[in-house]
């Protein structure tokens, strides 16, 4: 079995099983080249980003001690927002992926890292690394498709509750880190199934509670208190920085798998999937964001979502380097490399959220399956 497409125009109809295996081999070769070359330069990069983050966070917090003075408020808030974005995106997400484990530095390691986020690292690693990255865009398996609160694919059944999803999405964007924590806890699912009293769930919920307590204490009590007369303005500044970080990460992450051009897959399509087919699913199920080098760092290089999904454990600073090779591979095999500037991709993702809040239109209905299967020799 292989990747199944439900569209009238099957994007992989022209590929033979051999083609798909060769694509897999070519991608393996790209991966091997990066690993063979991994070293000092990469270690220097992540240490520099971590140092930049710490310096920026510390200095922004210091500036916010005087946040009653409006320019200080603006500078401190902006600095703190950037620091939090760096912490979550380029550092936290990638360290927790094990991208830097090869350095054998116990301080920069997927088993020890903690981030400025309310989701405990191990819970996030389970839902993100283990489930989302493995079952990328498989309807019913990959909960990242709409995070269990939205319908983002025609194949997901429509329910009147979806009418409100543009609003949920907006609220989720503003409080994204809490949304992620609830998502990692599978809160809705566990509540519905009445599993919220199970000891395992309670232990995980307590871990989230501890993280929330510490984060809230830090951001909304300790730092404002330290600012003395600037208590309220520092509180507002931290809230704003968290809001900016949340909306930013939400936007970047929506661009990864929601924009137009991204494919989704059926549950049965991953049975007996070969390595080549796995790669192909990642290629077609992800989308990039084009932009400047600074933009890439601020997105945690998730602007190279395609490369990240192909090689989730390669150091993030390498995605940009290998992107041209990956793209050339797409071109050679006539596959669509979905990419575009941030505003366009965000708009596309939002449009999908809004469009699918309504039931499928008759004309939107996809055609039945069959021909696609033959493409890779499964029929």
């Amino acid at each position: 079995m292989t990747v199944i497409q439900k569209k009238a125009v099957n994007p992989i109809a022209h590929l033979s099983a051999e083609d798909i295996e060769i694509i897999g081999k070519e991608l393996d070769a790209i991966r091997d080249r990066v690993i063979a070359d991994r070293g000092e330069r990469d270690a220097h990069y992540i240490r520099k980003v971590i140092k930049t983050h710490r310096t920026l966070e510390l200095s922004s917090r210091a500036v916010l001690l005087f946040s009653f003075f409006p320019p200080a408020w603006i500078v401190g808030t902006a600095g703190l927002a950037v620091a939090k974005i760096l912490d979550n995106m380029e550092i936290g997400h990638n360290v927790l992926h094990g991208q830097w484990d090869w350095m054998r530095d116990p301080k920069i390691h997927s088993t020890t890292w903690d981030w400025d986020h309310v989701s405990p690292p191990d819970q996030w690693q389970h839902s993100h690394n283990q489930l989302h990255h493995r079952y990328t865009n498989v309807v019913g398996k990959d909960n990242d498709l709409g995070y269990g609160i939205m319908r983002v694919d025609e194949d997901q059944p429509w329910h009147p509750v979806h009418l409100g999803q543009p609003l949920w999405n907006l609220i989720n964007a503003c409080f994204f880190q809490y949304g992620i924590a609830a998502y990692d806890l599978e809160l809705g699912h566990n509540l519905r199934e009445g599993r919220h009293k199970a000891p395992e769930f309670r232990a995980r919920a307590r871990a989230v509670g501890r993280k929330i307590r510490r984060q809230v204490l830090k951001d909304y009590i300790v730092h404002p208190l330290l600012s003395g007369p600037s208590f309220l303005s520092t509180l507002a500044a931290t809230f704003t920085a968290n809001l900016i970080r949340n909306v930013w990460s939400h936007s970047v992450i929506m661009c990864g798998h929601f924009p137009n051009g991204v494919e989704t897959f059926e549950k049965t399509s991953i049975e007996g999937e070969t390595r080549g087919e796995w790669y192909l699913r990642q290629m077609l199920g992800s989308a990039n964001i084009s932009g400047s080098k600074l933009m890439h760092i601020m997105t945690g290089n998730l602007s190279f979502q395609i490369e990240h999904h192909l090689f989730p454990d390669l150091p993030s600073n390498r995605y940009q380097e290998i992107a041209p090779q990956v793209r050339a591979l797409f071109d050679r095999y006539g596959l669509k490399y979905t990419t575009g500037p941030l505003p366009k991709q965000v708009a596309s993702a939002w449009w999908k959220v809004i469009r699918l809040s309504l039931p499928n239109r008759r004309t939107d209905r996809r055609q039945p399956v069959a021909p696609a299967l033959a493409s890779s020799g499964a029929a």
């Binding site: 091997d32 992926h97 981030w115 993280k211 300790v222 454990d313």
Partner: protein
């Protein structure tokens, strides 16, 4: 769940309170994560050192002078220190004898490293390490040291970089307290680490030096000691050098019932010779399995009934990472070899790693 005995409030010192407050300010990081940016060698920090000089000794050996952090507790001559050095971005730990005298200038310590062929760390330290680099340290350890009461007559039997621990003893004035004979082997006169210093000592009559140049004279046979140092069995002996030499020396002294007069230092207690597959021991559960070179350690463990942490089973989620305490594993994806000696605890992904020899996995 961990339970902790509640501390009585009276016992919480001002320092503890301050620390807890500081942790609330920096969470999820720790205050030290910020302090490390400005003062990595301060008291209370994880033990580190800064390389202050690298001095060549021979064509392939160099002395690395290190300013240790404030937490350094010093060493006794003959002891070694474990050093964590980042080579090509990867932290590698190795043990080296401290060659400096305790209580030296500025509390600095020195190690002397001989570059061994293909030695990742030794070549890095001898040829590429630069002043200013921060390295990780452990406290000095090892019992290859002199007793409180120095014996009257001492034999030092060394080869190659085996001279390093005894050099610390000599520099600390062993020859002023005892009658010392040093028998040292090296390929050529130029390869004798500390050659000039040793010869100067010998010329002053501070010790008797027997140099053996193995390129011309061949390896030293242990029976040759009868001629070279006739009273060698009456001397308290410290020996350090390659495994072959130590094996021979230990056998010889033991066969004469004098094993307690011989002290040896082995730098590489376990020789890892990677192959295909091997015996995998899960140290916590005391389960041992035979695994072939194609079976992931995760699978081997599960088949033996060990409750293994696991995730995606394809190398992408890092949910199965466990410490390799010693041994060698091979990455099934690219054939890369990872080795660990005791004390290392290299973290490996068990779902894509197969045994490449005997290995101990901590679980």
């Amino acid at each position: 769940m961990t339970t902790t005995v509640p501390r009585s409030p009276a016992k919480v010192s001002f320092r503890d309170r301050l620390r807890r407050l500081a942790e609330t300010v920096t969470t999820p990081l720790l205050p030290e994560d910020y302090l490390d940016l400005v003062a990595p060698l301060r008291a209370g920090a994880a033990l580190r050192g800064r390389i202050v000089a690298v001095r060549p000794e021979t064509p392939d050996a160099a002395t690395v002078v290190i300013q240790p952090g404030r937490g350094w507790r010093g060493h006794v001559p003959g002891q070694y220190v474990r050093l964590g050095v980042d080579v090509d971005g990867v932290r590698q730990w190795r043990a080296y004898s401290v060659t400096s005298v305790p209580g030296g200038r500025d509390g600095r310590l020195a190690i002397t490293v001989k570059a061994i062929p293909d030695g990742k760390v030794s070549n890095h330290l001898v040829r590429r390490a630069r002043a200013g680099t921060i390295v990780q340290l452990d406290q000095a350890q090892g019992d290859f040291v002199l007793p409180e009461a120095t014996p009257e007559r001492v034999l030092l039997l060394t080869a190659g970089s085996g001279i390093t621990p005894v050099m610390a003893m000599l520099r600390a004035g062993l020859h002023t307290r005892a009658d010392v004979v040093l028998v040292h082997s090296a390929p050529t006169p130029d390869d004798v680490i500390f050659g000039a210093e040793l010869r100067a000592l010998a010329e002053r009559g501070a010790l008797r030096l027997v140099e053996r140049h193995t390129d011309t004279d061949g390896l030293l046979g242990v029976h040759e000691l009868d001629d070279l140092v006739p009273d060698h069995l009456d001397r308290e002996t410290w020996a350090c050098g390659p495994v072959g030499m130590l094996d021979a020396v230990e056998g010889y002294w033991a066969s004469r019932g004098l094993a307690d007069r011989l002290h040896t230092e082995r730098f590489r207690p376990t020789v890892i010779s990677p192959g295909e597959g091997g015996t995998v021991t899960f140290t916590g559960s005391a389960v041992t399995v035979e695994a072939d070179g194609a079976t992931p350690i995760l699978e081997a463990g599960e088949n033996a009934g060990v409750l293994m942490p696991s995730g995606c089973r394809m190398g992408i989620c890092f949910g199965c990472v466990l410490p390799l305490r010693q041994g060698a594993v091979r990455d099934l994806r690219n054939g890369d070899l990872t080795t660990a000696v005791p004390g290392d605890g290299v973290l490996i992904q068990t779902c894509v790693s197969a045994a490449a020899g005997t290995c101990d996995i901590e679980l």
